[in-house]
Amino acid sequence: MPLCIEPIQSQSKEIKGETMSGRVIVITSGKGGVGKTTTNANIGTALARAGKKVVMIDTDLGLRNLDLLLGLENRIVYTIVDVVEERCKLKQALVKDKKNPNLCLLAAAQTRDKTAVTEEQLKNICEELKKDFDFILVDCPAGIEQGFQNAVAGASEAIVVTTPEMSAVRDADRIIGLLEAREEIKSYKLLLNRVRPNLIKSNDMMSVDDVVEILSADLIGIIPEDTGIITSTNKGEPIVNDDKSLAGKAYNNVARRIIGEDVPFLNLEEDNSMLGKVKRFFSGLMGKEK
């Protein structure tokens, strides 16, 4: 039986960070709804839990959501637009996380559109934050217009989030093309979200290998589809805080890979139901016979 989620060891070249400070990573996808913001919230939280100083910038002006996923929506006083228009200092606009003092959020303005902040301004904000933080995660809006260009402006690394669906992969390909055209982006990695091992096993969904081959990009994480994401979003509590969740574990692994650890990919293939065990037993016999 072909293993669909076999780890691709050769692809696990990590984003190397020797100095460990001031790395600006943009999290982008092209297509909406593939889990950019969820990824941002979880990687940010996981990095902070690992003792890194992290700030997340929501650049989705007019459609902010990162604050909701972190449960910080009631604490926002100033936004990135207030910083740019000099109504407050940058440090005043940073909202500290409830649990983790290492984690901060610079929220997007909900009442303004993408033109309120320019590429140059975002670049300057990133430069400023580099001095005080180990990681600056930039949450990029969907699309390839100005909002995307702004978000990418200050970053030197990128994580492209996609799912094993045709439209998401196609949009990811477009984004990769745009990232490659930008000199300031030194490296980009692929994060495959909402993977459903059962559908892959029955050949109804593209496998991790398929997507990696089609996009020919390095992989930094495989996140299984997890209903826990819905409840964690509802509670405003990133799923990495739940040690039992498989998606949480997968996100934690992504964070460790970003830091530079060599972490193998989770085995999502294992089917632990009774039928799964019986099937494995028989396919084992089959293998011996042939």
Partner: protein, 160 residues
């Protein structure tokens, strides 16, 4: 007794194997469709330009070989990070050196030789009469030559 056991074993195996035996599964369809669509996305060549390139290639190559013009395939393929333009030409017959020289002379004189135009006419006639059947039979009999015309590395992506 032993036969009953092997029969039983095979039946069970068959049951468990059924799920693996789907031929055209959704995953393969998705992969193939995506590959084609991404080829188009990654290159900036419009269908019209591709058609023009195809026409010019046919004109050039006809000088040296007699080929099945309708079965000629021009496609982009991906090999790892590289994009390649694959040209598959069903060759009916390689032309003699004298023929090539003749054609060259006639072109330089700005006149088409009668032989060539005759050939082309008869070709076109047969093609219009029975399109698909003609294509297939010729394709099978003809030798396929694959030429890698152009290898544009990541430039293609960057161009976007």
């Amino acid at each position: 007794m032993k036969d009953i056991f092997t029969d039983f074993y095979n039946t069970i195996l068959g049951f468990f194997r059924q799920t693996e035996k789907k031929e055209e599964n959704a995953k393969d369809v998705a992969c193939n469709r995506l590959r084609v669509v991404l080829m188009q996305d990654r290159t900036n060549l419009t269908p019209e330009l591709l058609q023009r390139m195809r026409q010019e290639l046919i004109e050039l190559l006809s000088k040296y070989v007699e080929m099945d013009k309708d079965a000629l395939e021009l496609n982009f393929e991906q090999e790892g990070n590289q994009m390649a333009l694959m040209l598959s030409i069903p060759v009916l017959r390689a032309k003699e050196e004298s023929e090539i020289d003749e054609a060259e002379e006639s072109v330089s004189e700005d006149e088409n030789s009668e032989d060539v135009s005759d050939e082309e006419q008869s070709d076109e006639d047969s093609e219009t009469e029975d399109h698909s059947d003609d294509d297939e039979s010729e394709e099978n009999s003809a030798e396929d030559i694959e030429i890698v015309e152009e290898e544009a590395e990541e430039n293609d992506k960057a161009e976007k």
